[in-house]
């Protein structure tokens, strides 16, 4: 059984003050196995964030369904929704979303604090997570005292600390310089090797090339996918670029 199944997902935004409707997702279908690292590529406005918001139960689809371990997200009771997000999902955002007035350590602890985890256990979980991320010495610092790359590492630590079934990342390298991006992407690969399932949304070919599989989304549909297999990052990048050329001929625009 797939860890995550997305079936005929459709999302139409209608703005309150106009009759105009935006169809962000038309008919999205895909499934993800446990342990996979999947990148979802699409140009700006193609519905990537919308998709991720629905996967994370922050938004509901107009129609279609999402199954996690065979259980429909729509069947999760409202009262269990928060527990589900807290225990089963980890989030990494483009702009980090760390709280500036909390130290990195307190930011990382936040999901555990919300679960009322004993302090001792929080501390025990912290070390094995921050050490490989290379922010062990920085955890007493505040977000404004560290670099963008280090902030994003802290955000990754916050996502990992609850040991989630799935990590959802929305353009995680979008606000990073190329060196920090590179190192974050390597971190994601390492986390994935350790068994963590990751779904990452991106419009960067380089970022996508670090995943095991890339889904292309356009006009609200997933219409193509490529597997990395045994290819190196550079080889896979070429393959992704080729796919994008084909898409470009259909009218898309990529950088």
């Amino acid at each position: 059984m797939a860890l995550l199944e997305v079936k005929h997902l459709k999302k139409v935004y209608s703005t309150r003050f106009s009759s105009q409707q935006v169809e962000a997702l038309k008919d999205v279908n895909f499934s993800i196995e446990k342990g996979e690292y999947v990148a979802i590529m699409g140009e700006s406005g193609s519905g990537k964030t919308t998709l991720l918001n629905i996967l994370s139960t922050l938004d509901t689809p107009t129609s279609g369904e999402v199954l996690l371990e065979g259980k429909s997200l729509a069947d999760i009771k409202d009262s269990e929704m928060s527990d589900f997000r807290r225990n089963d999902l980890g989030f990494v955002f483009q702009d980090f979303n760390l709280l500036d007035n909390f130290s990195l350590k307190d930011n990382i602890f936040l999901p555990l604090v919300l679960s009322n985890t004993p302090v001792k256990e929080m501390e025990e979980r912290l070390k094995p997570i921050v050490k490989p991320l290379g922010i062990e010495k920085l955890i007493e610092h505040y977000p404004y005292e560290v670099s963008g790359g280090q902030k994003q590492r802290a955000a990754v630590a916050r996502a990992l600390i609850t040991d989630p079934k799935l990590i959802l990342a929305d353009e995680p390298t979008g606000a990073l310089d190329s060196k920090s991006s590179q190192s974050l992407l390597e971190t994601f690969e390492d986390i994935n090797q350790a068994g963590q399932t990751i779904v990452m949304v991106t419009h960067s070919t380089r970022a996508a090339a670090h995943a095991n599989r890339v889904l292309f989304i356009q006009d609200g549909e997933v219409y193509h996918e490529v597997y990395r297999g045994e290819q190196t990052v550079d080889q896979f990048m070429d393959k992704i670029a080729q796919s994008l050329m084909v898409i470009a001929n259909r009218g898309g625009q990529y950088d």
Binding site: F91, N97, L99, N101, V113, L114, N116
Partner: protein, 247 residues
């Protein structure tokens, strides 16, 4: 979630948001003490004996300061909650239930409100005693004026400000619960521009505060002074506000 964690979270939030909570508390203390002073004068024996119009004017003063306090605290509060939308949205995304966010906000209001009222009462009493001492010294009236403490005035002050803080809390709850986490997280970007640190505003604030306090200090004739007093109060409120947004 247990009660202890709500308490911990509320205290942690107040501490880590001290840059915005401190001005909020200061404005609360300022308004509580002013209100308490005015309400106290209203019931002061000396003032009752001295003139029949004076209590009326103080009555008017109590109402005016009450309304000012209401507007002022609600305004600073709306500023505070706007700055915290991202934090509260993040709590929700990371898995905190709305009801739990509400409980934390309630505790934060309870703690800061209690501190604000208590400190306001203390500051008000000290100011009252001091100014009566000074007046007695300067004016040499045959009968000494006494700044008396009355349970009624304290209760009135506590009651009025408890209601004001409660309304502020309800406003905050409505802001958080009628908005989904995604909107809350974006709230800061989408909302009005936040005032930038401004030397001009800071100087304006200092000027207003200074003139406000100067007027109140140079009041000589207590009866004609009443309009001046309100001017002073207005200036101090405007000054505090500008000081608040200039930082």
């Amino acid at each position: 979630m247990t009660n202890a964690i709500f308490r911990k979270l509320a205290i942690r939030n107040i501490r880590s948001n001290k840059q915005i909570y401190l001005p909020y508390l200061l404005s609360a203390v300022a308004t509580v003490s002013m209100f308490y002073l005015m309400a106290n004068l209203l019931n002061n024996d000396f003032i009752h004996q001295r003139s029949s119009t004076l209590p009326l004017l103080f009555n008017f003063g109590v109402v005016v300061i009450g309304i000012f306090s209401f507007i002022f605290i609600l305004y600073t509060n709306s500023f505070l909650i706007k700055r915290r939308k991202k934090e509260l949205g993040l709590y929700a995304i990371l898995g905190m239930k709305k009801l739990h966010v509400v409980r934390v906000l309630f505790l934060e209001t309870l703690i800061t409100g209690s501190i604000g009222i208590l400190l306001g009462l203390i500051v008000g009493t000290v100011l009252g005693k001091l100014s009566f001492l000074a007046l007695n010294y300067v004016l040499h009236f045959p009968a000494k004026m006494n700044f008396t403490l009355s349970a009624g005035t304290v209760l009135l002050t506590v009651g009025v400000f408890a209601v004001i803080f409660l309304i502020a809390l309800l406003y905050n709850i409505s802001q958080v619960t009628f908005s989904n986490p995604i909107k809350l997280m974006k709230g800061k970007q989408a909302g009005e521009k936040e005032p930038k640190s401004s030397i001009f505003l800071f100087l304006l604030a200092i000027g207003l505060l200074g003139s406000g306090y100067w007027i109140s200090l140079t009041i000589s004739d207590p009866i004609a002074a009443l309009t001046k007093f309100f001017l002073a109060v207005l200036l101090v409120i405007a000054g505090t506000y500008f000081l608040f947004i200039s930082g």
